[in-house]
Symmetry: C3
Subunit: 343 residues, 3 copies
């Protein structure tokens, strides 16, 4: 894809601190995958399985590990971590909407709020009493920050986000539209006739460098705080229940639901639409497959899955009938083994 910005390879090498083998003056105006890249574009090579694509790639330059540099017919930028270098180069071609520091006249800023001069507050934003923003924060239109909400420096909160009272967020947060942080956890005591609301007295504490996708929800804690560690990345439509603690640098993919009072370790990956039952602990460096339900605590790092694979529905129905008989089938196998042993 061609973007609206362009750089010489010399500039890119300098910004990314990479060694360039080739033409410093060559101009690139976009990024593309190996297969579709054309002249004027920069690509990256990360997966040895695609070595033939690298050999045939028409990009003006490719970010590549030193040992594959020879396979590339054009300019190369040498990186020991080409995918990370690619991530770093994307920011150069991004076209973020420019938000000059200012407070839109339609924003409702409580008289108790003292805003740094470097912030941008969009139209119809509501900042309730005692909100505190760090420098360079950008708050998109229609977003609500409740009483006592604290944001660190360089936070980007997109449009139509709702953050309830007393939520605290570190530096460099990105929160996408439609997300809700700090709504009441789902807690009720059943009195035999009806559900009595347990008011949620905790809050949500979010570390530094956290990104939260669109339409995700993180509930406030009951008696303690819900905690999101540093560097945690949360995709769209994720639900994190009250009293959870998500360890640093863990990744929660889209549509995942974490039940209440769950502790997830550091460097975990919850696959898309995965989930957990409540009140369990998952240790560090656990990866859970897509649409798997973690039904008990996991104490050993590794990859975990539940569910069954996709089949043609006719085959799946036959197997499901048998799944309903599975305990009985297992017993019959045991019986057969007994009989065979006797004979």
């Amino acid at each position: 894809m061609t973007h609206s910005k362009s750089y010489t390879l010399g500039e890119i090498a300098s910004i990314l601190k990479l060694k360039l083998l080739g033409d410093e003056q060559c101009v690139v105006n976009g990024l593309s995958p190996l297969k579709s890249a054309v002249s004027g574009q920069l690509s990256f090579f990360n997966n040895p399985a695609y070595i033939n694509q690298l050999r045939e790639c028409n990009a003006s330059a490719v970010i590549v590990d030193e040992k594959y540099a020879d396979a590339c017919k054009n300019n190369v930028l040498i990186s020991s971590a080409p995918y990370v270098s690619f991530a770093e180069v994307t920011v150069l071609f991004d076209k973020p909407t420019v938000r000059k520091p200012s407070v839109h006249p339609s924003a409702h800023v409580h008289e108790s709020v003292a805003l740094p001069e470097s912030v941008y507050i969009g139209p119809n934003v509501v900042l309730d009493a005692s909100v505190e923003l760090g420098k360079n924060c950008v708050i998109g239109s229609g977003t609500f920050l409740g009483e006592g909400v604290k944001l660190g420096n360089d936070c980007l909160i997109h449009s139509n986000v709702s953050i309830y009272h007393d939520v605290s967020i570190g530096n460099n947060a990105i929160i996408h539209s439609g997300s809700v942080v700090g709504a009441d956890g789902f807690g009720f005591a059943f009195d035999g006739e009806k559900s009595v609301k347990i008011h949620q007295l905790g809050s949500v504490l979010i570390g530094n460098d956290v990104e939260i996708g669109s339409c995700s929800t993180i509930d406030r804690g009951t008696l303690e705080n819900t905690i999101i560690g540093n560097g945690v990345k949360i995709d769209n439509q994720v639900q994190i229940g009250h009293n959870c603690a998500i360890g640093d640098h863990s990744i929660i993919c889209g549509c995942t639901g974490i039940s209440g009072s769950v502790t997830i370790g550091r460097y975990c990956v919850m696959g898309g639409a995965s989930g957990t039952v409540g009140h369990i602990t998952i240790t560090d460096k656990v990866q859970v497959s897509a649409m798997s339900l973690v039904s008990e605590s996991i104490t050993e790092a590794g990859t975990y899955s539940s569910g069954t694979w996709t089949m043609k529905t006719s085959q799946w129905k036959r197997n499901n009938i048998r799944f309903q008989q599975l305990d009985s089938i297992a017993k019959r196998v045991k019986q057969l083994e007994k009989m065979n042993n006797k004979s």
Copy 2:
């Protein structure tokens, strides 16, 4: 249900271009299913299994295929596709909020935006720089359209929708409240310590006649665009990841999650809460059952499922224990077969 509008059967026959067998002057003021319809209402007959309901139906008129017309004791409107005719008649009884063309004084329209006279822009709407709207568009309160967003003609965007910069949408779109189109795709490169954000340089291109439910999210592409074809219908709480392409006229039911870089063909149906892993292709006319996970590409049209059926939990637990032993059980069966063959 009785609605606030009424029509004679003659009028309805004329509007829907159906043959009426019965009283042209008969007035109907509502629509109901066969079973609960009363005099003054119009019903439809679509499923031969309910022929007895048709025979006993008290509706003033029924939309029916010619061959079942005799089974109906009252007026009939003859249609070769009664369910489609029913769909067409619902619009006659709908009570859409009237939105006279106007721009609410509280809307924030960037000076670079030239609006057609026929549009309605609600309270607190934000239209950023270079937004382009076709004629007759209606934008509900609190909705945000980022820089460079383009909408075709006759689009209805409900309240509190967020559409990020450069998203392009065709004619006749309906987008329900709370949905977010064009937020960043979920892409990071792990550098051994932390996740480095891959800026999402693509956008979202949406064809004509697309409906998107409430609280659904469609992410912008990384290097290319995320594409939603013509006539695609997306239910509530659906997540569509970056770089996906959804073929024309496919249906995505509620709570479904489509991982990144997935291509779905034309005329597919993703059942409720279904999902896919990333980087796969699903061919045309594939139907995926509710809560099934498509874990690899599907190259043949048909119906696919995963998961197991609901059982009483006690029975389910016993079978699940056996599922954990299933590989071992299968091996034991093989062993038994060997022994039997020997003997």
Copy 3:
């Protein structure tokens, strides 16, 4: 956790109508679980498995059933339902944002709307024609109430909620941010080439004492109304399709998807991320486990589950291969049994 309010035990005993064994003048300023409670805090004992935590608890007072009172070394509040009493005490320590009755000058209230003096209408709220609010309602910033929406008394609608025309809600509702009530149900008739929209002519009727979490969606009915009974509690990210009826006091946990035209009885619990296919009926007092799909009607109270347990992915793969062969394995077992019977 220590909160900003404090009470003497005498006050709490009086408000909750509990018998106090101990010091009336003792002041508590917070609530904590047994294990982490310190002096000055109030705790509760609900689960006999934690009797040792009760014995060692450092809280200034514990809410406890009479028969366990002796195990507690400090003050006790006697309750026949300690968990319910705990729920009732949480409200005393909650810090709700004070919303003095008022209509924010930036709110857009249609001229046809007559507001009780006791309501609070936040910034940028939009109340369309003929909206009716009961007394003491609080409407958060950016929330949209469509034409003809009716709310009972004492409703709390948080920020950025969207409620479509003609939705009716009883007394004491709480609706959290980002939720959407009354958007179009997902209904189309396929005409062989494209999906023809079935306009959704029903509405949503919600009873008294209903709580709806954040980013949840409840669709309006096609010809009849979608109905949510009294006392129903709905968590975050829940989808309830058109024409559903949810019985009184049922609980719908987070991320659950209820397909269209489903009837759920009273006192049911749908576990997190559970779901149903459409057009089924679930009787009273049914509990569905997390991430289970109810694939047919349930006529008997009890607990139901589907899916498989989490395993290490390597083990899971082996078992899944066998699951795909399960019908064949079952037949082979039957064959072995036949052979054994012969021999």
